[in-house]
Amino acid sequence: MRERDGGEVRATATGPGRALIAVYGIFALSATARGGVQIAERFGEAPLAYSLSALAGIVYILATIGLAGTGPGFRRLAWAAVVFELIGVLTVGTFTVFVPSDFPQDTVWSYYGIGYAFIPLVLPFVGLWWLRRTGRAR
């Protein structure tokens, strides 16, 4: 009845999970596009922040794929991506509050996602809750 037994758990891409995937997909698209433009046009201005933008975009892409797929491999990918995302938003968020000069407001995670209505801060918690809830045997 554990997660790895497969088939016993609910797929993450069902019901409210689909709304969650939609939000993750939009963040994957916007963060990746933003990071891509920043790196292509003015990487030298803030290499660390712009690399982080692109990294955040990749993490959102992996989380979207993990949540949208079915099976233990996808579930592990989703767990890893969402946990990384949580650590990322907390670390970068805290860092920007205390050492603002090193991080312009140019990443999704700066100031805990203030430029994105704090959705980047809420999203990993919802993601973890959904993974836990669907991971339990029905």
Binding site: A13, R18, A19, A22, G25, L29, S30
Partner: protein, 121 residues
């Protein structure tokens, strides 16, 4: 960019978002009204994108952040069809929320486009 089109598409996207959330609350799967709403929004967005692309690439309008503007333009027309497809693939109450998420994301992209539209700056 046509100001009136920005206004109308913003209103339509907001209405589609609210409608999607309401049908989720009422436990109704996406129906033809969702398709009509998304279709109307998409027509407006495509017309806007064609006009703006023409203005930027051929019409002699120069923008300070042209690449970013064009990327947002692509995003603004791509999200709604994907959201509608994903929302209707599993007919459940949550389809409306998927459409609402797409509409809000697109709405933000349209507002960003409006902000980046600084001709000649």
């Amino acid at each position: 960019m046509i100001g009136a089109l920005v206004l109308v598409s913003t209103v339509v996207l907001a209405a589609v978002a609210v409608f999607g959330l309401v049908t989720t609350a009422l436990n109704r799967p996406p129906d033809r009204w969702h398709r009509i709403g998304v279709g109307a929004a998409e027509v407006l967005l495509v017309v806007q994108a064609l006009i703006a692309t023409y203005q930027v690439l051929l019409g002699g309008v120069t923008l300070p952040e042209q690449t970013t503007f064009l990327i947002y333009l692509v995003v603004s027309v791509c999200v709604m069809p994907i959201a509608l497809q994903f929302a209707t693939a599993e007919p459940s109450r949550w389809g409306g929320t998927v459409i609402a998420a797409g509409a809000i994301g697109t709405l933000v992209a349209v507002l960003r486009l409006q902000g980046l539209w600084v001709p000649g700056a």
